[in-house]
């Protein structure tokens, strides 16, 4: 019996403000798979992600996460299975790097002992060794995004959603961050869905891409992207 897909959408439809944002979307992300979600600005990429982490709740059709209908999940339970990385990093300015990351563990009930061991290890992995006591204002954009990635990973999620994680970064830094995400995905075996509109990143790190255009979705295999 094959394991259920990490994300399985069928006939997905979202309307708000009198506009149909997503129309008859069918999308499937397998466990351990890395894929992109691409499309023009306003095409519905962030809407789909918002559905997945229950920021947005109204939809029609079928949407499952880890084999379970999304509507069956209590919000906090779903969000503990999913890590999210945002374009704007969403770090708290008045908390240190350590505190920003620890918050993700604390709301899940993780004890301070394991957090004190795990956080420095993860920070070292992403190239921020010894930066626990810095504040976000003391970090560059790329460094802040790496902190946000560590925060998303602290709960060992099965799925990581990255909403334009490189949107605020220069090309070189963006490439570094996406490369890090690919490496971490391979190391941890989690499924990962990255929203981007950067052609350069697709070329640099080819993978399956789901393209949203006028509310509908089309799948591109990575060979197609390389062309």
């Amino acid at each position: 019996m094959t394991a259920a897909a990490m994300i399985a959408a069928e006939g997905l439809r979202v309307r708000y403000g009198g506009r149909t944002v997503l129309e008859d979307v069918a999308l499937r992300l397998e466990r351990g798979e890395f894929a992109y979600l691409i499309g023009r600005s306003g095409s519905g990429k962030s809407t789909l992600l918002s559905l997945l982490y229950r920021e947005l709740v109204e939809f029609e059709g079928s949407l499952e996460v880890a084999g379970r209908p999304l509507r069956d999940y209590p919000r906090h339970e779903l969000r503990r299975r999913i890590g999210v990385v945002f374009q704007s990093y969403e770090l708290l300015e008045d908390k240190t790097v350590f505190e920003n990351i620890a918050m993700a563990g604390e709301v899940r009930g993780m004890a301070s002992g394991p957090l004190r061991q795990e956080i420095p290890t993860l920070l070292k992995r992403v190239g921020l060794d010894g930066r626990e006591r810095d504040y976000p204002a003391q970090l560059s954009g790329g460094e802040q995004q790496r902190v946000a990635i560590v925060r998303a990973l602290i709960g060992k999620p099965e799925l990581l959603l990255a909403d334009e994680p490189t949107g605020n970064l220069d090309a070189q830094t963006a490439s570094g961050v996406l490369g890090l995400l690919r490496e971490l995905q391979r190391e941890t075996g989690m499924a990962m869905l990255v929203v981007t509109h950067s052609r350069e990143l697709l070329d640099a790190f080819p993978a399956t891409a789901w393209e949203i255009d006028e509310g509908k979705v089309r799948k591109h295999e990575y060979r197609e992207l390389l062309r």
Partner: protein, 289 residues
């Protein structure tokens, strides 16, 4: 338990972060609960004083000028409701006042200058006869004034009733103000920390836990105010009781342990009031989906 520890720590951090608002809220809660405690204490204490006064058997009669007080005492001693009658001269009264105003001779001077009248002191057979006796004595020729404790008790009850009503109005105002201050302080905290709250929910925190953090914040502030009121109330109550007991014996129906219990109830009222205000502030702002 880890989650509980986390939110207790977060609540404490929140109180410190808004130290000014927290202090103002605690002060207002202290004031409101102090008024409440004083009203309760006065009500309970006065009941005992009133009872004490009602139980007194002594009545003083002042005769008109020119009438022989000793002769009046002999006549009144034969009244059916009188157990005994004695004469208290002006000089004897002055001696009593000397001990009453001990250490404050300047207060006694005014009484020395004037001549204090003689009084006939009657001890009645039954306390229940007091009203009847006072009316009868007032109607008698030659009697200028009748003074009895129950009249004082009636005045005490009347004025304490007025004070209670005014006190309740002040209390209601202070409680409403304290509730509103805590409500606004928590709303301000919600606004200031909206990003943090959103982030916690995005990271998988339960909405109930996040709401609980703010309820705890309110409760901490309420406990500070309530504890302060309880301390002041205990000290005041015990001091007043000691002075009154030294002067008049056990006339208060409120004893030491009862004062302490009352103070503890006041202390508890603080966090309850503040938590209720916090709940009203966060109720619709942090929700589960």
């Amino acid at each position: 338990m880890n989650i509980a520890n986390y939110y207790v720590k977060e609540a404490w951090k929140g109180v410190r972060r808004n130290a000014g608002a927290s202090a103002a809220s605690a002060a207002l809660i202290l004031a409101a609960l102090l008024v409440m405690g004083l009203l309760l204490m006065a009500r309970a204490g006065l009941a005992g004083v009133s009872h004490y006064l009602h139980a007194q058997l002594e009545i003083k009669v002042y005769v008109e000028e020119g009438i022989d007080s000793a002769r009046v005492a002999d006549i009144l001693a034969e009244q059916p409701f009188v157990a005994s009658a004695s004469l208290q001269t002006g000089e004897q009264l002055l001696e009593q006042l000397q001990s009453f105003f001990a250490g404050k001779p300047y207060l006694l001077e005014a009484f020395r200058d004037g001549a204090l009248p003689d009084a006939v002191v009657l001890v009645l057979k039954e306390a229940e006869d007091m009203e009847f006796a006072a009316q009868e004595l007032s109607r008698m020729d030659g009697i200028q004034q009748v003074v009895y404790p129950q009249e004082l008790a009636q005045q005490l009850v009347y004025w304490s009733g007025l004070l209670q009503s005014a006190g309740l109005a002040v209390l209601a105002f202070l409680l409403a103000l304290a509730f509103m201050i805590v409500f606004l302080a928590i709303r301000l905290a919600l606004y200031q920390r909206s990003k943090e709250i959103r982030l916690k929910l995005l990271l998988g925190a339960r909405a109930g836990h996040v709401r609980g953090q703010f309820l705890l914040e309110g409760a901490v502030v309420g406990l500070a105010g309530g504890a302060g009121a309880a301390l002041v109330l205990s000290a005041l109550g015990l001091a007043v009781k000691r002075r009154l007991t030294e002067a008049y014996g056990e006339i208060l129906s409120l004893d030491g342990p009862a004062i302490v219990v009352l103070a503890l109830l006041v202390a508890l009222a603080g966090p309850i009031l503040a938590a209720a205000a916090s709940y009203a502030a966060v109720r619709k702002r942090i929700r589960d989906a």
